[in-house]
């Protein structure tokens, strides 16, 4: 990058305590509040919600004298309690965030201080300081690489946290500093750095290093070690801190965590808005009623005609009724939901089924307001590396000379037949092939061996090569020394030196890598390894025979999802080599079209090869990944894989994790221009329709470049259409921002809930863009986990998180919401019926404080109990039948459900009021003939309402556990106790509180006919309708959940057969849902809830038994990760490495 930034640059004094300006410190904070900002921010947030504004208005309106029918403080008081509970919850959650920040800020590191390495914490790191970072540690800040333990100041770093690429990247320090490898030299080192201001470009950086007495040196991204990356295969590095804390590129790249609102919240707000309009219209209707009375009756009635003189205008009446009916909008809904979600979240946190013993971590719900969102997920967007795969490569199989060695069961290749076969007949063609294969595995690569404490370690940027070298070593072909011109192998106990003559780099276009070597016996050999298609094209006639068996083997390996690599070789005559070598040298020196010249040259020599064999490497999946993905897909969730990796690798993993099967048609979009992409998408969209008709499985594969086009303009529509049809989609070569774009695109397509799951910092954008972000909190960095809404230790916990917690929580939260609407409408609409009998005066039928306390005392617990302890369908069943998940979604928070509940609420309120009216019409319900008056009616009605509403909670509850029963019956009891206590309050000092209630309990409770008998029978009669309707539907149209429960209940006696018949008699459709999409085994064994069903064998069996006809290259497992176009070419890498040189200690 040119020096055009000179006007606005950051100046840093290296190794100095004085900096020209004050830079931000290295403390990061994800907290929402500080001590001072808490109150204003909290209040602003609270009053951004409709219903809080609403209740604030009501509380204000109640202060106007003579308008409120319920006194001044009956809304204000419960409202304050509710705000207080919300505040406590917010404080608690923010404290949790603070602790997790603290953990990151307190990671240890080492800082150069007065010529000594001092232990320090991340938060102490300051700009300009020199840090010491050891192998396998994360960089605490953006660092300029000064020197390292490796030659020429090289350092391998793993950036999967940042960009998701699995291979290691090589960084190299400037030559002027790379010698600073000892404390003596680093200690006094001073310099002056000029570089860009912090920005979010991860792939661009530029600056100048000024060392006294030297020319300024330019440095760039190759010298920058980013926070969030991890040092690998390098003992230590020294670096100067450039950007700290929130200036670091990774933090600049992470957006401010957006406040996510769940769909249920949005729906609830809409419903509340609807109720608000109902409320306004009721107020107006009532005010009209009042107006009629004001005109006809009241002027004549001498005892109340003075009301008119006071000027009770129409608008005042509207206000009065508005306040009277205000509780139609449930005041406690928000706080009930918050509490429920909070504890639901703690159920998630405490779930043993999501506890990962190895890492001693359990699931963490970092935000609790998305719990129910987990139950509505339609799309899962998953990262690959670290999420689906462990990023550990294992050599599993190989095929030599028509024989396939190894098996898929053992952890890694351990088939000693390979060596035995060689030892038996070392000179036969077969023996020779084995020997060559092992030699190639051990010699044809860019790995550098390292002896450390008597152990041999292999370091290199390609994990595939590492796996092969390690595999060869396990077979007795140990690569132990690399020198610039040669490698030394221990060939089954005998050292063998191989001279490396030329290295032809691996590129993704060439899909192969070649090495020209001279073996000990003086023969010049070309070793080539690469993708099968590429190798097969260059194989000579002699090997055609073995090729077919090899193809079969490759097919088998691919069916297991292994990454395969073909090996070929040929001997080159001395003279031919001499000629070619000269050409090649010339080509490498070319300036124009260098790569093209090299390719041409390589093509010339890489022909007429002898096929040696092939290897298969397993990119180890995380535990139970295929099972989890199958379960998710069975729950009608679309699973997308978004990865920064290559297409081949991606497709490979897609196969091995059951994202697509052998029968899946892959639709690959890999065009580079807009028009091509557009055409392709159009064609695929048509084809998808056709496949749908034919009932074939299909999946789309798209790479980052095409995606740019696919997301622009017209193409977006087609892409969206296609994406919606595909069961699974693989997106490869994605940048972090593209991942987020894809997520946003899918979000925008329809009202579907998108969940993103990832483990690295490269997934942060995607996690934040999705409706629900899930972070894998493995051993990797904490970025993804700390940006996520839910953090889990393993991918397969997703199944439990969604299918169990998600579905349950969704069902529960919807119940809580609907129930809250229901109970409020049931109680408060009674005011409307009473208004008919109270001359539309706005008089309440109930005592004012009992109205206020309804939501925060007498019916506060049942919804919470419903939200926490209801288990719609048992755990085992939920996990066993993923189809239940989508049936839960359908039942959802639909308009029909809402109307049903509201209808029930109105019906109940009518019955409750008019039954009470019928009982107390005469007002005399005692043998002693007293009358109870206004509150006898009000309190009786209230008691019946409380009883009805609490019993309704029981009726709606699918599993009666003791907390549910206690909270429902206890609430009724609580009301009776409070009633008695309240009746004793008056007179209390100066207050007139409870004057109306004085003695009411005694009056009511002495009436058997007016209170006790109706207390049992009014609620029962009211709820009969629910009971009858519910039974009727359970009998005639059982929902999947009811069938699941019945199934479980009958399992001991009749088993599933009976249920099936049951279902076919009455509703075959529902059962199809059961049978069609899920695997139902009729065996009597239930898998334990937390154990995923082992279906791996099943899918593999199916795949391996299938035909061999597939020719499409993408299906083959070829994948090879090797850094291209890095600061050091593979050729230079091989040429410069010298494992015999001792490494500097840096101390």
């Amino acid at each position: 990058m040119p020096h055009h930034l000179a006007t606005a640059t950051r100046h840093i004094n290296v190794n100095s305590t004085h900096q020209p300006v004050k830079f931000c410190n290295n403390v990061i904070s994800t907290c929402k509040y500080s001590v001072f900002s808490f109150l204003p921010r909290f209040l602003i947030e609270q009053f951004l919600r409709y219903n809080n504004i609403f209740f604030l208005c009501i509380a204000a309106l109640q202060q106007i004298p003579d308008v409120s029918p319920t006194g001044r403080y009956t809304t204000l008081f419960p409202f304050c309690i509710i705000l207080l509970i919300s505040a406590l919850k917010e404080i608690f959650e923010d404290l949790k965030r603070r602790t997790s920040d603290k953990k990151v800020n307190n990671f240890p590191t080492q800082i150069l201080d007065k010529g000594e390495w001092k232990d320090a914490l991340w938060k102490d790191v300051k700009v300009g300081e020199i840090l010491w970072v050891e192998n396998d540690h994360l960089f605490p800040a953006d660092l300029l690489l000064i020197s390292s333990s490796e030659q020429q100041g090289m350092a391998y770093i793993e950036t999967s946290n940042l960009d998701g690429e699995t291979n290691l990247k090589i960084k190299q320090s400037l030559p002027t500093t790379s010698h600073l490898t000892s404390l003596d030299s680093i200690g006094p080192f001073t310099a002056y750095i000029e570089c860009e201001h912090p920005n979010r470009h991860v792939n661009e950086f530029s600056g100048n290093l000024h060392i006294e007495g030297q020319e300024p040196k330019h440095f760039g991204i190759d010298q920058l070690l980013l926070r969030g990356a991890r040092l690998k295969n390098t003992e230590w590095i020294c670096g100067v801190v450039i950007y700290t804390g929130h200036d670091a590129k990774i933090l600049l790249n992470s957006k401010v965590a957006p406040l996510k609102q769940s769909n249920v919240d949005i729906m609830t707000n809409r419903r509340i808005l609807f109720l608000f309009f109902v409320l306004v219209s009721l107020a107006i209707v009532s005010a009209i009623g009042a107006e009629l009375y004001n005109r006809s009756y009241i002027p004549e009635a001498w005892y109340i005609s003075w009301i008119l003189a006071d000027g009770a205008g129409f608008l005042w009446n509207v206000l009065t009724f508005f306040i009277l009916y205000n509780n139609l909008i449930p005041i406690s809904l928000q706080v009930t939901l918050e509490l429920v979600r909070f504890f639901q979240a703690s159920f998630i946190n405490n779930d043993l089924g999501m506890y990962h013993a190895d890492s001693d971590s359990c699931a963490v719900a970092r935000t609790s307001n998305l719990n129910e969102e987990l139950g509505q997920v339609k799309f899962v967007m998953s990262d690959k590396t670290g999420t689906l795969t462990q990023n550990i490569m294992k050599w599993k199989r190989c095929s030599v000379g028509g024989v396939s060695y190894g098996d898929s069961e053992s952890d890694q290749f351990a088939d000693m037949r390979l060596v035995d076969d060689y030892k038996k007949t070392p000179d036969s063609a077969h023996g020779n092939a084995i020997r060559e294969l092992l030699t190639m595995m051990a010699a044809c690569h860019t790995i550098v061996p390292e002896h450390k404490e008597g152990e041999l370690l292999y370091q290199g940027s390609s994990p595939d090569e590492g796996a092969l070298v390690r595999g060869a070593a396990a077979m007795g072909v140990v690569f132990h020394t690399r020198q610039p011109q040669r490698v030394v192998l221990n060939m089954l106990g005998k050292d063998e030196s191989i001279e490396v003559l030329d290295v032809i780099d691996f590129t993704s276009d060439r899909k192969r890598m070649s090495v020209v070597v001279r073996s000990e016996d003086g023969k010049i050999k070309l070793y080539t390894k690469g993708a099968d298609t590429v190798i097969f094209d260059r194989v000579g006639e002699a090997s055609k025979a073995t090729m077919n068996t090899l193809k079969e083997h490759l097919e088998e390996y691919a069916s297991f999802g292994y990454r395969t690599l073909c090996f070929a070789m040929k001997e080159i005559p001395q003279d031919r080599y001499a000629k070619w070598s000269a050409d090649f040298k010339q080509a490498t020196l070319k300036i124009d079209e260098r790569q093209k010249a090299i390719d041409a040259c390589a093509e010339e020599i890489e022909s007429d090869l002898d096929l040696v064999g092939a290897t298969a490497i397993e990119d180890k999946l995380q535990e139970f990944v295929p099972e989890t993905i199958q379960a998710l897909m069975a729950a009608d969730i679309r699973v997308w894989m978004l990865t920064g990796d290559k297409r081949e690798t991606a497709i490979n993993i897609a196969h091995s994790c059951a994202l697509c099967t052998h029968h899946t048609e892959l639709m690959i979009v890999d065009k580079h221009t807009y028009d091509e992409t557009y055409d392709k998408l159009m064609r695929f969209a048509d084809r998808a329709k056709q496949y749908e008709v034919e009932g074939r499985e299909f999946a789309m594969v798209i790479d980052g470049k095409s995606l740019v086009h696919a997301l622009t303009g017209e193409a977006r529509v087609h892409f969206g259409e296609l994406a919606m049809r595909c069961k699974s989609v693989v997106c490869c070569r994605m940048s972090p921002m593209q991942k987020a774009e894809v997520v946003e695109m899918v979000r925008g397509l329809a009202d579907h809930v998108v969940l993103a799951v990832g483990d690295g910092a490269n997934d942060v954008a995607m996690i934040q863009a999705a409706h629900v972000g899930v972070g894998i909190s493995g051993e990797e960095g904490l970025q993804a986990a700390s940006a996520s809404d839910y953090a889990i230790a393993q991918f397969h916990f997703l199944r439990r998180l969604l299918l169990l917690h998600g579905a349950w929580n969704f069902d529960r939260s919807v119940k809580v919401i609907l129930y809250s609407f229901y109970k409020n409408i049931t109680l408060y609409i009674i005011e409307l019926w009473f208004a008919i009998f109270s001359a539309w005066s706005g008089q309440t039928i109930f005592e004012r404080w009992t109205i206020g306390m309804f939501n925060i005392m007498f019916t506060a617990l049942p919804p919470i109990a419903l939200g926490l302890f209801d288990r719609p369908v048992d755990e085992a069943q939920m996990l066993r039948f993923p189809a239940l998940y989508c049936s839960f979604q359908k039942r959802a928070f639909s308009l029909a459900q809402f109307c049903m509940w509201i209808g029930m609420a109105i019906l109940h309120s009518l019955m409750l009021f008019f039954l009470t009216y019928a009982i107390l019409e005469e007002g005399v319900v005692w043998a002693h003939g007293r009358d109870g008056g206004w509150l006898m009616l009000g309190n009786c009605c209230y008691s019946f309402v409380v009883a009805t509403v609490c019993l309704k909670a029981l009726l709606e509850c699918d599993s009666w556990t003791w907390p549910v029963i206690v909270s429902c019956l206890g609430s009724i009891g609580a009301w009776l106790v409070v009633l008695i206590a309240y009746s004793w309050v008056f007179p209390l000092g100066r207050f007139t509180i409870g004057a109306d209630m004085a003695g009411m309990a005694w009056i009511m409770m002495t009436s058997l006919a007016g209170f006790w008998l109706p207390l049992i029978f009014v609620p029962l009669t009211t709820l009969l309708w629910d009971l009858v309707i519910k039974s009727f539907f359970t009998i005639t149209h059982p929902t999947p959940r009811e069938m699941a429960v019945l199934y479980q209940k009958r399992h001991a006696t009749g088993g599933f057969e009976r249920l099936t018949r049951y279902g076919t008699i009455y509703s075959s459709g529902v059962l199809d849902l059961f049978r069609g999409r899920t695997r139902i085994s009729t065996d009597d064994e239930f898998p334990p809830g937390s154990e995923p069903i082992p279906i791996e064998a099943l899918t593999r069996g199916r795949r391996s038994s299938s035909s061999m006809q597939l020719a499409e290259e993408a299906r083959h497992g070829f994948a090879f990760s090797q850094e291209e176009h890095g600061p050091i070419s593979q050729h230079d890498m091989v040429r410069n490495a010298d494992s015999t040189q001792p490494k500097p200690s840096g101390r």
Partner: protein
């Protein structure tokens, strides 16, 4: 010091998946039923087998309650008389028909024929229809504190707080002002008065706590204690004179007057009845111990309370109630209807249940063959 990846790989080569526990699992959630959501649960599923017995039991229960209430209603006796138009039969013809506020004393008599013997306890009620004692501002217009003896406390009495001369009303507020003030007396065919009593009309709790006359210093009369207040505009008597002359009926005087207290307990609905007096069974040597015998009586009403303007009606009731209070047929019928309905529903569920069994058996047979 650091943990090398190659070492890790090595370990995996040798020790496969066995993880190295570096520390005790301190984050492991506790395995309790509560935390793991495994509380024992009962799952009600309303299938035919369950719904049938449920509806059957409830249906029977409702029917039984209905029948009981019906019988109870039959057992309670009630004589009611609408006397709104008593002015038609007035003994004193000084007033025009359809009066509003009578300016002078009106007395009217009615013949009351009790066809059955009214068993003790016998109660007398007055009733009003179309009187909205439950309107919001009307109900609010009272001072609870004043009734507890703090006579100058007028909180909440608006709009009737002070008289024209600024003297506060006692009792203040609209409710008290609109107090019902017709009086009733019943005489037998022999012109002997039927003894009334106000005792046992109210629970002592309410009486003691909510309604207290102001404290009288020694030698003071009640009227002295109420000094500084004036009677509500519609009243004919001062508050301290309320109940004077009815001591025999233990009606209470001033704020403790039973009629005032009963009136102050506002009714819930526009048609209401309020207790007036009980039959005094101890009086007259236990002549009425068994209740009010069947026969002819004469009801004499001192007609003071105007209702004609708002088309209200006034009633007088004599009742002998059963355990469930007054004659309430509609409720009893409602219970019976619900009960019968439930029995029908349970029969339907039974049929459904049988049908399922039948189809199942047929299927099994078909399979057997």
């Amino acid at each position: 010091r650091s943990f090398h990846p190659a070492q890790m790989a090595e370990e995996e080569e040798t020790g496969a998946h066995i993880p190295i526990r570096r520390r005790k699992p301190k984050n492991k959630p506790k395995d309790t039923a509560w935390r793991q959501q495994r509380l024992p649960a009962f799952r009600p599923v309303l299938n035919a087998q369950c719904a049938f017995p449920l509806t059957l039991v409830l249906g029977i229960a409702c029917s039984i309650i209905g029948v009981f209430m019906y019988l109870s209603a039959l057992n309670s006796l009630e004589f009611s008389l609408k006397y709104t138009n008593c002015t038609d039969k007035r003994t004193n013809s000084s007033e025009a028909k359809g009066d509003d506020v009578p300016t002078s004393f009106i007395k009217c008599t009615f013949d009351v024929e009790l066809k059955e013997h009214f068993k003790s306890p016998v109660k007398f009620y007055y009733g009003l229809d179309g009187f909205y004692q439950n309107t919001r501002l009307y109900m609010a217009s009272r001072s609870e504190k004043q009734f507890t003896g703090d006579i100058l406390n007028k909180d909440g009495c608006s709009p009737l707080v002070n008289g024209t001369d600024g003297i506060p009303y006692a009792p203040c507020g609209i409710i008290a002002d609109s107090m019902f003030n017709d009086t009733f007396s019943l005489t037998t065919a022999d012109k002997e008065p039927v003894p009334f009593t106000a005792s046992n009309i109210l629970s002592s709790y309410v009486q003691d706590r909510k309604f207290k006359n102001p404290e009288q210093k020694s030698g003071e009369t009640l009227c002295d204690a109420f000094k500084g207040t004036t009677k509500p505009p519609s009243w004919q008597k001062e508050i301290c004179m309320l109940g004077v002359g009815e001591e025999r009926e233990s009606v209470g005087i001033g704020f403790e007057n039973i009629d005032l207290i009963v009136w102050m307990r506002t009714a819930a609905l526009p048609k209401f009845r309020k207790i007036y007096r009980n039959l005094d069974i101890e009086h007259d040597d236990g002549k009425y111990l068994a209740g009010l015998p069947a026969g002819n009586y004469t009801l004499t009403i001192d007609y003071n309370y105007p209702t004609a303007a708002w088309r209200g009606d006034k009633y007088f009731y004599i009742t002998a109630e059963a355990w469930a209070g007054g004659r309430n047929f509609p409720l009893a019928i409602a219970y019976m209807v619900v009960g019968v309905f439930l029995l029908l529903v349970s029969a339907i569920f039974l049929l459904m249940c049988l049908r399922i069994r039948f189809l199942e058996r047929k299927r099994v047979e078909a399979q057997m063959q």
